[in-house]
Symmetry: D2
């Protein structure tokens, strides 16, 4: 199988990680590193034999062996660069967020669809062994109906100068949510409430609540002011329940065979429901300690070769943007619920 040629655009914070993973992947042949700062690009590409360096995207796109580009520039430039690549018939992997606004994100999704190229969003967290396993459990039906997802991502964190705590931290949780929730449990609306008790000029503590199709609920707590660090997500299902504690390397995932069962048949003339509890074993599966970004570049190649959408395709990036915008709107309106598009996953509105 011939490796695909790829160019990495942007040699800043995230670019070197992409360079390293493309360079070491058998599915890819890294051809270019492109950055306005060509010294930086050269430093990143330097130790790799035949990788060329340029400040000019046009030069990259005129190379017929470049089948795909990976964009790791600031979010404000994603739309322009991605459109250029799509127009040139290239497949594109975009660092999250997909674009600066949902409107722009929708343009990218539509353009990629029209051009018949793969547009993938680099939701790296989704390719960790833990999240991959959660997705298997939720999509195979093994955990049953999704009852709730509760995610906590808090610590004494750097207060960002430009974004609030929702835009800084919640994209992780929202992209994971989108990845693990089957369409029949998709979020219906967003209620967000934030607080800025330190007068930072933006929310430093935030709560997101999202009723789900099927009667369940999702909730995210993000917080820059917590004395302790917590990265924990609970997924409650009708058959099993999952606790994912990302700070517990020896037991990241715990899968509980626990549940509540309610018999719908009226028991007697009082028509009371019968509630029963199931408390079985807990299993903490052995998980590989593989780098998530390796899974990202592999999935990108596989989607291109198989002519299918990537598992975190442009639409998933767009859905995350829509949830973030809905959250911002809700928070601005004091926590009023803001509905989400209902077309279902995979269909850009």
């Amino acid at each position: 199988m011939q490796p695909l040629g790829v160019a990495v655009i942007g040699a800043g914070y995230w670019g070197p990680n992409l360079v390293r993973n493309f360079a070491s992947s058998g599915s890819w042949r890294l051809r270019w590193v492109c950055d306005f700062d060509t010294d930086r690009a050269r430093a990143v590409a330097g130790h790799l034999g035949d990788v060329r360096v340029t400040a000019d995207l046009g030069e990259v796109l005129s190379d017929p062996e470049v089948a795909a580009v990976a964009i790791a520039t600031p979010a404000a430039s994603h739309t322009e660069l991605t459109l250029a690549a799509i127009d040139a018939g290239r497949h594109v992997l975009v660092e999250k967020p997909l674009a600066a606004t949902a409107a722009d994100g929708a343009k990218l999704v539509a353009a990629a669809q029209a051009a018949g190229v793969v547009l993938m969003c680099d939701h790296t967290y989704c390719y960790t062994p833990s999240v991959m396993r959660i997705r298997e459990l939720t999509h195979s039906g093994e955990i049953g109906d999704i009852q709730y997802i509760d995610s906590v991502r808090i610590n004494l964190g750097l207060i960002q100068p430009d974004v609030d705590v929702f835009w800084d931290l919640a994209p992780h949780d929202l992209s994971i949510l989108d990845f693990v929730l089957p369409a029949e449990f998709a979020p219906l609306s967003v209620t967000a409430l934030g607080a800025d008790p330190v007068n930072a000029g933006r929310s430093c503590v935030g709560y997101l609540t999202m009723p789900l199709r099927g009667g369940g609920i999702a909730h995210i707590h993000v917080n820059w002011l917590s004395p302790t660090k917590i990265r924990k997500t609970v997924v409650g299902g009708s058959r099993k329940m999952i606790v994912w504690d990302d700070l517990e390397p020896s037991q990241r995932l715990s899968i509980y065979d626990k549940g509540v069962e309610i018999s719908e048949r009226p028991l007697d003339d009082r028509a009371r429901r019968l509630v029963s509890y199931r408390v079985g074993d807990m299993v903490a599966p052995a998980l590989a300690e593989t780098e998530a970004l390796r899974g990202v570049v592999t999935e990108f190649a596989d989607a291109i070769r198989e002519g299918r959408p990537a598992r975190t395709d442009g639409s998933s990036g767009l859905r995350v943007l829509r949830m973030l915008e809905a959250a911002a709107e809700s928070a601005a309106k004091g926590g009023q619920a803001v509905p989400l598009p209902t077309e279902g996953k995979g269909l850009p509105a």
Copy 2:
């Protein structure tokens, strides 16, 4: 100091605990146990020498040595029994909730005020060593301004036949919130969202969000469907931060000397704020292992003798009822924020 005569009304679930604590307190002389089921009352009082038993509240209230009554009957009867005792000039301790509705609760507060008697609500949790210490820290100013309170009370719990998860679990958190929050950080409104993913006919998972005066926020997560049991409250302050983990007997309270400080002075013409972090030691104070209910009966006696409101007086019980009713209204309206009365703590509206 002469012990005060007291009668316990209700010999069901909670009554025996009150009987035991009044009987062993030097501040009190237990004179009556009153219950429709006098066999039950006798069983509860049996081992105690001179305690009399009756099914008739009138008999109790005609005993001039009864200075106070403690009511531990079902909530539906609280209003009638409490009013009867107040009308007879007796001080009253009422098991939570104070009354079945906030309107009834307000009547009780007004009646007690008019009669000049002490009306106290038995918010037992507030008298645990952990919560007492948190109150000292919040009221003394030691933790600084309250930035947020985040409380989680979840486990695979019994689904109650008559109440939802908000009314079952949140009263604990709300009474603690009311107890530890100084008036200048009182809650302004309630946004509640619940879910019933098991078709139990009532919310089994619930989230309560409450903006606070001063810019902070309070949040409560109650859940009957969690595979793991958590009872944890974080109080973020501008000077210190507290984690209370009630399931960690060896380290229930952790007080962190951590914080974020924002300098209000514009640093330069871009007027950016200066953010700095403080990370100091953590202290886990040694706490006595005393029974909370002993603190309740002592506080009741002290309030009577000193002619002052109890620390969990009728007004606090009324505020908790108002928050619960606001939560129910908000949940029924899909999470619309419901404002709380703004008169301040201590002043019934």
Copy 3:
């Protein structure tokens, strides 16, 4: 099935627990509570209809409906009382330690064998759901060969006036060890080292090391001077490994599918061994929350009815005494290894 008549001798600390469990067991009919202090015996037996009280063991043993006696008196009296009961043809359950010395213990075992009665030692811990499960895992071969057992039982504990930390705490671990270790992994010798850094006049910190048949090793750490409380036992097997944390009610047992495998075949002329590692899932089994003492009284009845030794029979009590005496001898000799009898389990020496 006719319940067996039983008498409880000793109404002090442990007697009431035996009384409660015999009285509520369908296998037993409690007939007597016997104590020098008949008031105490009466208080313990009081609420139970037809239980008689006496200070005279002779009276108990002359009751033909008493098939068995349970002895919960101070250790110094165990030998005399147990021998009297055995001589009278009664089955006997003895609180641990079986006797004050191994020599006395051996007498009891021999007498019971001669009389053909069941002699059982109340090693209560062995009947907890956790230890029962560990025994199943070790005796079924599921965990493979026993590589080591490491047990830690430490906290800031009461310094006993009469016994050192070995005699106070290690009997728990030694009786568990004896219960879970198959005979082919029995301990071969004891090396004990203690310290008395507070000048209490007896060891307050102690370490016991016991090489096992088959090449493994057992180790016990007991300590009255530890700032934190730990009750943890690890059982390393060639197929699986168990961690039992008795202070973690939500996950007491963790069974790891982990191991090291060494290929015995020389790999090449350097004859190096091939080491490989296996890291599979961990399972935390759901365990019933039953009272251990209920299992003790049931096993006592079953052993009598089935004419077989109890699972914690007199011999196991004797082996524990021998290990304790060997530990005392070793500690007195500065940690010299003291061999244990090699006859194997089940065979009194």
Copy 4:
């Protein structure tokens, strides 16, 4: 202050770390990297401007600007290389273990003393913020008399082809023990028992027990066959007690104000001792997250400049070797106690 010239000998596993720390330290000027494999040496030194590379130690020692050498070669070569450097009048930092045998180690200590140069052993762990703080607590008297030290260092670890678990893991604990124990609590003897239940040809599980001067005891548990990873040390003192959990980044050190106090005065004619307990607060100090090796190179420079022994001088390296050899001898003799030299710390025997 003029930086001191230094050469790093050995560019294998540890050498690059030394190179990085010497190169970035203001106290040092790195002049040479010396390794038989000069390509390797060049790769390690490559990015650093004026560092020269050689395979010849003689060339290094003939450079008059080299004041000190740091040796990071295999242990078997430490003695020869260190003696050569000492003979050339250079100060030497040696990676642990100081030498292959205690006899060799003693030669190095004597040679350095005769030559008047600093001989320092790179016990890196001792320069972590946690261990530095423990040493302050033990040497300042703040924790009082040392009652015991209990250290556990276990996991499912790589079985080493050449050394047993004692030589692989215990040097960490022994060097820490030597570092934090004041001379009046120095170890008196070593009892070691190991087991090889997997037939690896060497001990895979080991226990080391060491009575201390003053009546206390030290104990080390090292294990390659544990399903869970533990790195925990408890230091019990008469005034305070310390728990160091190196795998708990958010709370590595916990300092308990707990203790047992025994009044020596006879209380009455029964002459019983009065035992009392003190249970105060626990403090988890904020610790800097600095690299330990930076502390090593700074201490090396300071010791040279101040003409004093380094805190982990050659004698400490020698004491660790003696404890390891005593452990090997004890284990070979089935756990017989092997005495340690009693000359006291700081004095090579």
